[in-house]
Symmetry: C2
Subunit: 213 residues, 2 copies
Amino acid sequence: MTVTITAFERSPDGGQGLARDTRVRWALEEVGQPYDVRLVSFQAMKEPAHLALHPFGQIPTFEEDGLALFETGAIVLHLAQSRAGLLPDDAKARARAITWIFAALNTVEPPILELFTAKILESDMPWTKERMPLVQDRIRDRMKQLAARLGDADWLDGDFSAGDLMMVSVILRLRSSGILNEYPNLAAYVARGEARAAYKRAFAAQAAINTRA
Amino acid sequence: MTVTITAFERSPDGGQGLARDTRVRWALEEVGQPYDVRLVSFQAMKEPAHLALHPFGQIPTFEEDGLALFETGAIVLHLAQSRAGLLPDDAKARARAITWIFAALNTVEPPILELFTAKILESDMPWTKERMPLVQDRIRDRMKQLAARLGDADWLDGDFSAGDLMMVSVILRLRSSGILNEYPNLAAYVARGEARAAYKRAFAAQAAINTRA
């Protein structure tokens, strides 16, 4: 059965892998699921055909055999629950791994989204320079707690899981701010994620689209 | 098997049901699962015993038969997948319902969290009054899209599901700002959620703790 996802026709990050389709591509690669990509322009994302797939007018979406999903977390969870490779077999360990998907998206990512809001949507506002340290310190609060939990383990709970895929994807966006490298064990954790063959294939696939002439 | 959750010893909202244990209580009530509550103080939440359960030092947590989970979304999903009552039987419909859990937590809630950050953590900052309309308009962008998708349906995708439980829980926090009532179909949607017997029991249980002398 063919899987089709959507991605930016041209990602605002120019191919750095920060757009959310990279997270879904990574999950698809980890479970060995081939996929097609339909590119959508910023204009098309706000039109009825795309809004029928994604009510918030974003990417990525996921289509397979009459099932249409949106939300990166839901797509990654669906792939992890319907294929082998991203969750442990033991039921309790599976539930714990899924907890980390939610922790990445609902506890760690919100303050990081605030940073991007400040940098992109409020970049020319008079308060942004003075406000930025507050925004960054709220991210550091979370990173400190995450670093304490990870300790010197390779992954958050046993083997690599969909929870790690999501957490690495969320915190790697902090590299350019310098905040990721303030936490050496988290920087190493991200590097372990990026070193996985599946991540490399996902990254290369989105880069090929976003750096084409 | 006994289920034990944690909640604030005294919620900052004084029993309005906005603390996240209400979401888990609601799910427990919907699936008919009795539960115990262990109350934790703000000080205890930052101590090693609680951090072992919840690495970010928050509530709620969930414990049952040697399984310990944190993150409201993960707990609600675990309850929905392990008991009847919060997800449809059809596999595709289940995946779509789960999508709405993630949409609530990762697309709709982040701009709402920004509002609370502005109101609580930055209330006395010189920029907050001027910045507030921007924060509120980013919420309206999402509410408008959500209202368009819901239309005149009772719930987001067929029968009431864990996705509706989470979306109602996320947007009811906007009532005090006035923004919820700008979208009559969403205000009615929240009211339908609050009218459910399970919600009423959950609300009453947290109110009893937070309004005790």
